[in-house]
Subunit: 461 residues, 4 copies
């Protein structure tokens, strides 16, 4: 493809995509339209934004494609606000330099371009890294995206990549894409809330866009909008607690993890070598996968192999594939690390005694998030704290102004759960009852109110 | 599976699914929960409700799974209204017999269970029929769904099927599922509007649920709700005109159609026989597909084959697969059948002269819908007209009470379009311009305002 | 007040009003802020937008203040679109001349400034005219509004008034404020729908703002937005049929009309002269009211007099005041003019025989609207028809492109109703039954399905 | 009025009121319909729910009438849930006794019936008490409401009153109407959020209705709904911080307070005795007001007197009336009690020196709320803490389960502000500048970032 146009040119008339979250996505540059039309970007239509969450919240079937458009749109709106209200008048005055617009819009649109199917689990098993792949897609001479970006300037792909890698010199540009309150997070909270149908994630985007402003060291918010920012932090926390960490979604992730692990082990074991079709995954089993191999994957490709594997003779592979396709989650209980370890071991032994391979039929899964943190000088990985600006230009860090945020700051939230087959919690068929009755009786004495209970506590009652 | 429970039993405590359209889907019977958990029903998660529409309205990625739950929920709410306000007091008094509840709920939930990936196109190429398959899934002894339904009563599967086939004796039950204003249509209009992000499909469901009522020959609406019913008809019309018939979605359907046709022809041609992986489709190429074969298909399986085919050496197969995966729609113009036929032939010749195989690179596509019709005694396939009931118990047919509906009644709406490669409408690269310039100049004189224009009209101007 | 600032100046930073319909109202000119702060404009807070409609739809308590801000905001958004996409390049090219912005924004904000309490009824009784008063408020040297407008230029008040009077030379400016699809109507449909809680009035404003465009003779819409415009016409029709013409709201208007008429007659009759407090209305009873008198009135002033009048010894005045304050509407039936006249007379006689003064206890009320019409050369008062523009710049009138609109065009919609005390329709107390039984029996034989029924029809049944 | 019907009877067919917050308000008892139709209840249409808040959030013009219907509807829905899922099987088992339905519905509907115009301020000046008046309206033999309630049973009015007074024996009934998460609060948060147009108050009502449940000592919530309850507490906190405590709304309240105080003082002062019309307020000036006098008041009556007073010759009365009617709020700054007292005195002196009567032209206003508290045995006025119930029937108090709630529990939130004429903050006209320049220069050195600043801090900078 030889490009015979000026990539930066503005469209004579704005084009739009209808979007249920932002009403319209407004496209003003030919380059943005063309990036959306690339093979690599269109592929995001085939990768769900929330992985296994739609097994719990059936509306959440939206793709990374829609989210990427949304991040672009929020970024565009912020650029418009900045350009109008806070234009840079002389270099370094803390105003917004609108010549940064194209690079930040491209970074917004492409920030998730490296994601593959069920990234979190896939990466654990196959040692891939979606962030590295994002950069590779932008920089590799093989991609359509790189060709388009290069048409702007030879160093433009590297600039876009550096925004995503947070090494771009202008902190305003970096923080719009990656900070504790960036366009990425704002879009996914609103979007995931819309598609799941809950309203925990609904914060006041228009008010935040009213109070966001650039300053010399990045992005800040007017103090008058403190409660809107506070509400965003609470929404984020609620979405993690109620949607992203939902035990059933994590259960389906556990099954997916064990299923891919089983397939890999079967492939690696000469005696059990997979003889069936799985071509598109072979480079990953062999750890020889190229970018080209990676770009062929999507949710549907994995699903197709699961459909084929469900008929394989390996009982574990077949059973796990069936569980994933037909949504048969494991049951789970909350536990407290260390303290409950002996009981977990006891329970695992019981499950083993019932004839299950506990490598595939039990799991511990931790989901933790840090809802907000201020800057801590001594830590290795640090966060850009959220700054509120007073009318006189002085600042206060968010958690100092908000007791709610202070109550969440710096503390990991989430829970640790132990996963096991449902029949141990509640035998359903006669056959299950007959087989497991004594084990079940023992099993359930360690569990109360959806959590592991200590023997001492048992005695107390 | 031996079922050791009473399938009709009410759950001790209602269970819910969070739904963005209806807030909560309320499940009250163990049977409904179990039907949702079957392999056949879970499969609907992997089949998009609107096929290629998400290529135009990116939010519309929702599955037939979510729609099926929605139809169930609207039906359940109507049953509640009927049971409360219009219970049958003696047989034949036109009231609602609540012992019909379970059969109508099952029919609502399962009415689309036979759908496969991109049904409309798939059926055209492979001669399958999703309605027949729906019945087969309900009646076949091989399915999990049949096993559950049989546990209610041996003739229960046949009853559920007959509701869907409209042969069930109680017309109220049939019309709740299939009529010009049924639970199916009410859900899909609201749901498709929600996920596309338009509000054309938003009619006043709660008001319609206020005025719907049973009578001896089916379902009617109180006259006081006339404008709400009228608004529903207009919403339906708007959704067809603006969403379902969108030229770009139909373009992607044309590409899908040609792609599957090409694959089938390659498979059938001994010289060009497909050597690559396509196992799950072979029974369909061979026309030997069983229900088991059908249930393995989903959107992801087709997508996986398209990913494999894009690397095939057959240039047409590879190109069409690429166009589908990377969303490269054909361009289209509106035409008027008969009248514009000579020009279509002329255009087709031009495209052929430019070196394209017009069997694969052109198409005509008609999309028509009858927004509403009253009963016409002499027609073969007839529609249950919408009846409005006066306080004194007399009726008036909807189009007699509403001039708006009257203006839509009995007339097919839609358009016919001619599809062709985009480069004929607007050459993009230098190469395209060089190659096609004279053809392009001729081509464009037949087209004006997105439609075929007659030479006589050309002369006039 | 001496103004020491440039009235046209842009605010250094945009100010906003939170609005439930448009999210934010954005104010960019100091003049607009100052106009909102005037006594005349603040007074609109005390006048309900929908008069008696909140007696039927209790949420509809919003004021003309909120609507006026909304009309301003829609106009502002259209100006932004026009200035960006369709700027005038040379005079008369049909583009938008952005120097018209301030005059059109002022006209939008002030178009309803002359409204008083329950204008429709008040004007009938007291012969006032809110449109003339609007112009007077803008032009009178006594008003705060005039002082502000004059600060722009000495002829600026006259310009603003002429936009509202439709005599301003630029048809684009006039049509933005007054046409069949203007900012006024768009705001009130959306706003009234929001506050009543119905969704009939919900059309796709953002899509209409996408397709609206200026041309040399006014405002047009791109043909691609035809269905959005069509949907707006249908929404408008639905709001009139279901909200604005609701029989109960009209009943309360009938009571208000009769109440004010009674007060006026008592005041004029030397024997019955009102001796009680009613000072603020006296200029209106005497037909000597000045603008100053008019600006003192609001819904609360009328309500205060009603509270005082309810204790007056004139039984009719007291009863009607009580009915209005305590929401005791008359009952009504639909009738067909001329044809049902003899029956109306019969019913009126029956009511009179029961001892009611039918001047005050019966009424006929017609509510009619013309949902849309195209231009008709021979008519006196004519409407600017809605024009759709093709890509090549040619036009088609809306009703020629839409059969739905065609079915509504040029036909008055509404109904005529006869109002009478509720007890004739449904006696409630023993006393009422005893008194009215025979009359009631006769009365009800003329009424069926909420309408007058002809004796011939009675015989038929 | 002699009632000839069974007040408890169910309506043959449910009646509805369209409501923008709850979609429909469902009425099932004739008694509820009749209570709504009383003079005392209809009067609530003329009293705004949020008093002066609509001066800041112009959409918030809704009345106490709409809120009262909303509290009724939420209570009704909870009764339905309880009756279905948690019916009392034997006395004292903690289940819901549905024979309590009518008393709780009446209490819900009538809980605010004693409110008058701008209650908070009015009560301060005239020593009335809306809670006492609520009870009086229910118990007085003079009211229509009392007559209707007595028709149920002679002790029924007292029962309804005792629910509102929290002395009713069944704690479930009391807590539905008055607790930290009752139907009253749930409705006003949602309703005020809807009408202001903010979304801080939007919590997940349907989820809370899913998890609310009766137990032997009142109302609890299933632990699975903890985050929904937590979100409700945060929403409540946000609404107080951002809407109810808005400095501008409080400023208008300050003006109203000073205006009524001035009128009262003028009335009491023989020399300045008000000679103008103010009849409906005289009983309140004289402290002889009866219930009958009270029921004549509404927002419009006060507004009418303000319109009359604005023309009075007392300059302060006239000016304050004008400020209220035309929305001319005082300016304000935050201060810290005690610490900033000397500066407040200094500022007050400056204002006095500029010729203002600081009794009327300055004020301090404190707005404080306790977002949530747990039970504290040693406190006089105590709160029913929110209890979460585990599957095994044990409880945990909300703030022990939620760190966010814990961060808010037991701490008063709000602020103290000092109010003064705007011209001291920002002189607008030449005249103001000339007059106040030196005072203004001194004034502003004590103020920074919208708060009083200490001299020590001034020095530091």
């Amino acid at each position: 493809m030889t490009l015979n146009y000026d990539a930066e040119q503005l469209l004579p008339i704005e084009q739009v995509f209808r979007d249920p979250v932002h009403d319209y996505i407004h496209i003003q540059h030919q380059l943005i339209l063309d990036l959306i039309d690339t093979r690599e970007f269109q592929r995001l239509r085939r990768i769900k934004q929330l992985g296994t969450s739609s097994f719990t919240f059936h509306g959440a079937e939206h793709s990374r494609f829609t989210h990427s458009l949304g991040v672009y749109e929020i970024t565009r709106r912020i650029c418009d606000k900045f350009a109008r209200n806070y234009p840079e008048k002389k270099s370094g005055d803390g105003g917004w330099d609108d010549s940064e617009r194209l690079v930040v819009l491209c970074a917004a649109l492409l920030h998730d371009i490296g994601h593959g199917p069920y990234s979190h689990t896939f990466e654990r098993i196959f040692k891939t890294d979606h962030e590295a792949i994002t950069v590779e897609i932008i920089l590799s001479h093989e991609t359509e995206i790189n060709k388009l970006l290069k048409a702007v300037a030879s160093d433009f792909p590297a600039k876009v990549a550096s925004v995503i890698q947070k090494t771009y010199p202008n902190p305003q540009v970096v923080q719009l894409i990656s900070s504790q309150i960036d366009a990425d997070r704002m879009d996914y909270l609103l979007r995931d809330a819309y598609f799941t149908g809950v309203n925990y994630g609904t914060f006041d985007l228009t008010r935040i866009l009213r109070v966001i402003r650039p300053y010399s060291e990045g992005i800040a918010f007017q103090i008058s909008g403190m409660h809107a920012v506070e509400d965003y932090i609470v929404s984020r926390y609620q979405m993690y607690m109620q949607i992203y960490f939902h035990p059933v979604s994590r259960s389906m992730e556990v099954i997916l993890d064990h299923l891919l692990k089983r397939a890999k082990e079967l492939y690696e074991d000469p005696e059990m070598h997979l003889h069936f079709q799985t071509d598109l995954l072979i480079p990953f089993f062999n750890q020889t996968a190229t970018l080209e191999d990676y770009l062929k994957l999507d949710d549907g490709v994995l699903g197709t192999y699961f459909t084929l594997w469900r008929e394989e003779k390996d009982a574990i592979l077949s059973d796990l594939a069936t569980r994933f396709l037909d949504r048969k989650p494991f049951k789970s209980v909350h536990f407290v690390d260390k303290q409950d370890q002996p009981i977990l071991e006891k329970l695992t032994t019981l499950i083993q005694e019932a004839g299950y391979d506990t490598d595939y039929y039990t799991a511990v899964n931790n989901s933790y998030d840090l809802p907000y943190d201020f800057y801590r000088p001594n830590q290795l990985t640090n966060r850009t704290q959220i700054e509120l600006m007073y009318p006189d230009g002085s600042f206060v860090e968010l958690s100092k102004a908000s007791e709610i945020v202070s109550s969440l700051a710096g503390k990991m939230r989430g829970d640790e759960r132990f996963y096991f087959p449902k029949e141990f919690s509640k035998p359903k068929t006669m056959k299950e009852i007959t087989l497991f009755e004594p084990i079940y009786q023992e099993f359930k004495q360690y569990i109360k109110n959806d959590a592991i209970i200590q023997p001492t506590k048992i005695l107390e009652e």
